[in-house]
Amino acid sequence: MSAAWIMAVAQAVLVAAVAPLLVGFTRAVRARLEGRAGGRLVQPWRDLGKQLRKEPLIPADAGMFFTAAPAVLMATSVLVATAAPYLSTRGPLSAGVDLIVVVGLLLLGTAALALAGLDTGTAFGGMGASREMTIAALVEPTLLLSVFALSTRVGSTNLGAIVAAGVSDQARILTPASALAAAALAIATLAEAGRLPVDNPATHLELTMVHEAMVLEYSGRDLALVEWASAMRLTILLGLLANLFVPWGVATSLHPGSVALAAVVFLGKLGVLGGLLAVGEVFAAKLRLFRVPELLAGSFVLGLLAVITSAVLA
């Protein structure tokens, strides 16, 4: 195994290990700001361990899609965590998995979970699936326009190339186009990760839940896998947001020292973004489902402006 593969696997393990902690961290920050004591940082990891020991139940009418979806969701998360340039831009899959593939893989995970929701045969599952797919469909233009804005300045959609160009030429990042694209991608990230104001991860209220409605029937190890993969998705998306727009600290070689430094910087960036997310969620209320398209239309306009600005300035 070459050094690049070792780095990639280490990166995937790091993302997998940190993801529940990031969730725990955002919960802890929220709890503090709301004047509650809150759980500990490792509470999500403990929950996963507990779920793994419990007996998994499957609804009487569910089939293969219900049991396969957690593994598919996990596979998409792990593949993105392996391929994206979180630690070094010289990853082994840098030429094989580009930004469009990342968008596609995340959508594949969403679709797998939506099919599982429909497979349960309950109204909750269908409701969650329907809402989730509607939001996912409307996020897609924003995501790809952000990809467009990012790839224009390097002439490639390869993640390694985009981040490496940002590291080597930092002046190119501080442009109005980048700021607009970052704002667009941030809104899209909130929608993709199912955070406020699009979806409330802490609710089980029938009228408002989206993601939780889809996974309502999961239990035991299946639920553990879904929750872990979902936490990884949040980490992946925040990590991408951080490294695409603030690429400082990402190693451009495979030297162990610089990769280790990159890991520390990456954790710091995740902490800052997670903290910001938690602070934002304290002050934000969930939007009505049919107001979400307006928010996403706003992010789409930001994305379009980013592309046109970058073309005009180029």
């Binding site: 007996e55 049991t67 996990m74 594949l108 490639s156």
Partner: protein, 672 residues
């Protein structure tokens, strides 16, 4: 004679043999014989196509075969690509037909309906190899007539089939007339009707003539391709035709409309001004968006697939438009990528749409309904069909590692990397096109999640769906072949690289638009790359690995009642249906779709506050049809009725008309 000639003659002979077998054999053997002949003709056509895309050309002119013009055939790489496509689809559908039509001898298994099937395939094989205007028009009309008769094969079954046939007949003939006008004008302007002569003389055409020919031909071919707003025949004909015919029409015939546009605009006219491509791109974008939105809210499985055909044709046209626009701007690398995207998408769409229409046919065969709101629960009753349809749906939703994803990736790459030097038009058009592709892809995923999730999963919503059984082996084999082709195209799309190289060279854009090893897919002149094989292996491998580890580490699963709020077992009435699944999307795009909804509340006799029954009705008429076509039909009808009054049956009146006409002609002659 070379390989192309031998294979092509074999294909036509086998098709003829199949047609005669369909006519003379008894009902017991008919389906099997016709299916086998269709497969053989398809394979022979595909062999001819494979030889042609690998560089073997063939030309022949048989002067005596038809009066006046004779028959001219010419096979180049472009024709070869479509031969390969039609042949492949015919082979898959031929296998499927054996089980689908069965031995009943009625409906699609009737003598005429079966005999027409190989003839339809032969006509489709003749369209791309036609080498002159007259031969092309002949083959085109043959294809239209055979497909029309096949659409009508279940006309006794329901009046909807007859309406569909009428729409298809009217639109395909109108399209034919337009193409006839365009090509005849072109042939007259250059003074020769063989494609070689047209190609040689195209450079001297005045812009008026070439633009006129382009507009006429584009209208005709786009209506055959099912592009919005010339699509209303498509959701009717695809839905009402027997499913193997739908598969042939959607996967193969509709692509020949694309072939026509490429042949005329790129090859014969040799490209054109920017506004041609902007117009083509606008048609493509509207088709993609409108098609997928209608598919997203459709509850009839075959209607959903038909509108998805419009969507995919829209994406293909968008790719062609990008290729033309970039070639006109001198950016040959981008043009090559866009052309490769369009061509690869024709093949990918042929693969997954043949599979999905066959899947819809299997569902219809097993349950007797195409209404998604009545289906469900098929994944346990028809596991193999469900698995195969999943492969097709993955491709149609353009998700990795499906085959549709690769061509959408190519299209996005072509659109993404052209901004800096392209001028204002490209700067505006490229992001809009990217947004259109993205929204189409997003809604496409929702559409196919709906089709698969409500059609096949959870509990059956009707007795018919509950009684479904797995299809016979020949139907599964046909679908399995299509799924194998889809998987191959998804994992190693670079197999198409040499063929795309020859086509691109022939059409004067960047040669070798795609290259790379069997693993990586790289583009000429664009620095992006993906490796579809790694993505597929990664997703499947990691998923299997996690499933295995979780199985080993955790406790075994147990079946239990789903959470029903403690209120008795859940019934199928409580499931989300296709209608309810699409409701949020329908609301978001209300201004485009303009749904008609009624809610009738019946109150109890005792009190107005007690509700006895609530009835909800929703209709989603095709808005283009009701706004654009209805007025024309109403006007034509009115003109027809008015004209009726001229013909009362009185001989004196007719004599007076004739006399008036004669006098008018004489006066005109004298005045001249």
């Amino acid at each position: 004679m070379n390989r192309v000639a031998v294979a092509l003659c074999a294909a036509l002979a086998l098709a003829g043999l199949g047609a005669s077998a369909g006519l003379v054999l008894p009902a017991r053997w008919r389906s099997a014989a016709v299916g086998a002949a269709t497969v053989a003709a398809g394979v022979a056509g595909a062999v001819a196509g494979a030889a042609a895309v690998s560089g073997t050309g063939w030309q022949v002119r048989v002067a005596g075969l038809l009066p006046l013009a004779g028959v001219t055939l010419a096979v180049d790489a472009l024709a070869g690509w479509f031969l390969l496509l039609v042949g492949g689809v015919a082979a898959v559908v031929g296998v499927y037909t054996v089980g689908y039509t069965g031995r009943t001898g009625r409906g699609p298994a009737a003598r005429g309906a079966l005999a027409l099937l190989p003839l339809f395939v032969a006509a489709m094989l003749l369209v791309p190899v036609a080498g002159s205007v007259s031969t092309f028009l002949l083959a085109w009309e043959l294809m239209a007539v055979t497909s029309l008769l096949l659409v009508l094969s279940e006309h006794r079954h329901s009046p909807a089939v007859r309406t569909a046939g009428l729409w298809y007949a009217a639109m395909t003939q109108a399209g034919f007339v337009v193409i006839l006008l365009g090509l005849a004008w072109l042939a007259a302007a250059v003074g020769g009707e063989s494609f070689a002569a047209v190609r040689a003389g195209a450079a001297e055409l005045s812009p008026l003539v070439s633009s006129g020919v382009f507009l006429l031909c584009m209208a005709g071919f786009a209506s055959k391709a099912g592009a919005v707003p010339l699509h209303p025949w498509l959701p009717r004909a695809h839905a009402e035709a027997p499913s193997h015919v739908s598969a042939l029409m959607s996967a193969a015939m509709v692509k020949l409309g694309v072939y026509g546009i490429v042949r005329v605009a790129f090859d014969l006219l040799g490209g054109g001004p920017r506004w041609w491509w902007l117009l083509l791109g606008a048609v493509g974008a509207v088709s993609a968006l409108y098609g997928i939105l209608q598919a997203a809210v459709a509850t009839d499985l075959k209607r959903l697939l038909a509108f998805s055909t419009s969507e995919n044709i829209g994406l293909i046209l968008l790719g062609l438009a990008a290729a033309g626009l970039l070639a006109a701007a001198g950016q040959l690398a981008g043009a090559g990528a866009a052309l490769a995207a369009a061509f690869l998408h024709t093949a990918n769409h042929a693969g997954f749409k043949a599979l999905l229409f066959c899947g819809a046919g299997s569902v219809l065969h097993a349950t007797g309904t195409r209404d998604l709101d009545q289906l469900g629960g098929l994944s346990r009753r028809m596991p193999v069909t469900t698995g195969l349809v999943t492969v097709g749906a993955l491709g149609a939703a353009a998700l990795p590692p499906g085959n549709g994803f690769v061509s959408e990736w190519l299209l996005l790459q072509a659109l993404l990397h052209q901004v800096p030097a392209g001028g204002t038009v490209l700067t505006i058009a490229a992001p809009v096109a990217v947004a259109v592709v993205a929204l189409t892809a997003g809604v496409g995923v929702a559409t196919f999640v709906k089709a698969l999730g409500t059609g096949f999963l959870a509990r059956p919503r009707s007795a018919a769906a509950a009684a479904a059984i797995e299809s016979p082996p020949t139907m599964l084999a046909g679908m399995g072949l299509a799924a194998a082709v889809c998987t191959g195209l998804a994992v190693v799309p670079t197999v198409a690289a040499p063929a795309l190289d020859r086509i691109a060279t022939g059409l004067r854009v960047e040669s070798a638009p795609l290259h790379g090893s069997g693993i990586d897919l790289r583009l000429a002149g664009i620095a992006s790359s993906i490796s579809p094989l790694w993505i597929a292996v990664g997703v499947v491998g990691i998923a299997v690995g996690f499933a295995a580890v979780a199985r080993a580490a955790g406790r075994p699963r147990r079946r239990a009642r789903a959470w029903d709020c403690g209120d008795g077992p859940l019934t199928a009435r409580m499931e989300y249906t296709a209608t309810s699944f699409a409701e949020p999307l329908q609301r978001v795009f209300e201004d485009v779709l303009a749904p008609e909804q009624d809610v009738d509340v019946t109150h109890s006799a005792e009190s107005a506050y007690l509700v006895r029954a609530v009835e909800y009705r929703r209709r989603l008429p095709d808005r283009v049809e009701s706004r654009l076509y209805r007025p024309v039909i109403v006007a034509a009808d009115a003109v027809g009725r008015a004209a009726c009054r001229l013909a009362t049956g009185s001989v004196h009146r007719y004599l007076a008309y004739m006399l008036t006409a004669l006098v008018a002609v004489l006066v005109a002659g004298v005045l001249r």
